[in-house]
Symmetry: C2
Amino acid sequence: MEGEPTLRLRIFDLNCWAIRYLSKRRQERVRLIGDTLRREGFDLVLLQEVWSERDYSDLKVKLAGCYPFSHYFRSGVIGSGLCVFSRFPILDTLLYQYSLNGYPYMLQHGDWFCGKSVGLVIMKISGIIFNVYVTHLHAEYCRDKDAYLPHRLVQAWELAQFIRHTSKAADVVLLGGDLNMHPEDVGIRLLRGWTGLRDAFAEATRFEGCKNGCTLVPDNCFTDKSELLPFPLGIRIDYILYKAISSFTVKCEELKTTTGPAPGMDIPFSDHEAVMATLHIQRRGQPAGATLGAADLALVDVVTEARTEVGVGLRAAQRQRYSSGRMAVLALLLLLLQAAAALGTLAGLGAEQPFPKLSFCLLAFLALGVLVLTTGLHLFHTMEVKMLHGTEDQMCMALRALQERPSEG
Amino acid sequence: MEGEPTLRLRIFDLNCWAIRYLSKRRQERVRLIGDTLRREGFDLVLLQEVWSERDYSDLKVKLAGCYPFSHYFRSGVIGSGLCVFSRFPILDTLLYQYSLNGYPYMLQHGDWFCGKSVGLVIMKISGIIFNVYVTHLHAEYCRDKDAYLPHRLVQAWELAQFIRHTSKAADVVLLGGDLNMHPEDVGIRLLRGWTGLRDAFAEATRFEGCKNGCTLVPDNCFTDKSELLPFPLGIRIDYILYKAISSFTVKCEELKTTTGPAPGMDIPFSDHEAVMATLHIQRRGQPAGATLGAADLALVDVVTEARTEVGVGLRAAQRQRYSSGRMAVLALLLLLLQAAAALGTLAGLGAEQPFPKLSFCLLAFLALGVLVLTTGLHLFHTMEVKMLHGTEDQMCMALRALQERPSEG
């Protein structure tokens, strides 16, 4: 078994923070990222927040020599921001857009417009089939009162389900990306428990980089220091996860993160640190049996916890659906009332016009505006309710399956 | 080999046309469908257009005895309308919502609000793993000038990709649903070619029902006769498709459709006819080798044809994105101009007010309305462009893979 040849794979993962017009020194940093990738010669590069297709094209041209294969995932208004560069041929791709991703009216957060997704690329390296997933989940803007937690949990669940259902023919599964969750958060535990993925940072034989593997650190000149006040060392929200499915083993030999400024430069690649893993993949004699049991019990707890949080989100969405619907009905009533008054005046029922024309018109426009807006909101929250409800259903089904597993064999 | 036991599976598929407040005699028909399903005892029931969760719950209660397992797929504003009833346990489910599905402003068509999706349920029957897909694609409102063709093609492609990527551990794949495409349409050829699915109607040993297997027929009292004028026999747009993946064979022993009124009743189940298939599934000695070659060549043609249509849609979407963007800019300019005039008047620059207040206000509101509307449209068409472009990319990649296949071995 030990004699089997080993495949060594070097992976680079980075949230590039390349938002046109908004991100500081974007072009310079994208050039820097491209130069480094070309020099370092990784096997596989997983990037997020490459929002501009132009930046992707520039990188593609620059990296054509050492990474001849690449894919950019398109979705949403702005794009998914996800792309992959590879030394090895990409055989197939698939994109899954998360069903929930924040609110269109939260313009200052903007996640909704990005069409957050998970991208899958399938590759065959030395006869081993790799399913490589790259993703970026909804940001966390306020940890104490995280209004987006249910959405992020739905995304973590959909990510886990997508990986489980699409990786059945894979030998090795890799996931890289900005998950916007701390290592102990319920979403990460759900994702890891439900897919069996292992955390490269926790498994690495050698580690080098920011303390605790943090990828959003106060030392980085682009991070918002006030957001990181409760976490003086920074937080770890960018991950490389992996697992071997069939008769293979994967080991993480080394994990590195960048630590602020790029070597020999005055700026870092991004406001996030890059994560770089060196994996060893080896064929082994027999397929590993499922080693569940105790893990199953822990998983039941995690799924239950996630389901509770989704339930909280569901009730909030139902309240919002109700209040926007009520507001729409009120606006409609006001409009009808005004129409009746106007018709009455036209028909000469009222002796004189009761309101000044201008305020009457303004009021009608206001009512119309409120009607359109609240109807839109009502539709949106109806969708949100459906999705949260659907996820809750799926989690219930998963819990049943987990609890019945021993009897099924 | 012949001695191996055979599994016989009876499948029922129907677009139920159960739209609350809109579909004629809905409750009566849902009751009728439930009664028939209970009496006939199929193994697997795939329903579409069950828009109301209430109808689903009623069916679930009624069918609990003979179909103890069921799943309703939630998505979109109204729902996906998709549900499954089964005699056998459902092990897992997954929903994939199509990235394009018509236009929100085409209220009279309403497809956009339905969140058209494909639902997957996984079952294990007699040790055989079944991946069962149920779906409903975008309707065709005008065959001669079908504005939705690119969207439906994107859906057919996403459906095919979703099936390919999620069915790798399945022994048998089943797909049932209203595909809204005629058997010879490019979308059907793409779906069948790219997944290897076979058409139960074409393969059936025995057939009974409407001529040519049509499922939308003029004899049905609920169909729109004028739409079917060019097709006096009707059209076939509801399908049961299947394939065996590993060491199994599937044969369609019998295919039936309903023919208008339900037995002993004055009304049919729906405006669509139901499709009922009896499949024989048998284990065979050796896994079947891939028998491609000539099929590959035909597939190249189909993918090329589909890609051309998607390209046509892409250019139309780009034009709409451009014109809505231009309109938004014009509205914004008008608003700015008005703001400048108003400020000028306030500052006492103009000797007297140039416009009557009311028309000035009305114009401002009009400009604001146009701005909001066209900005929304612009965002929507930007998403549409991204999705069409992404699909075109994927199809190109598929073409390259198909053309390189012989050299790869």
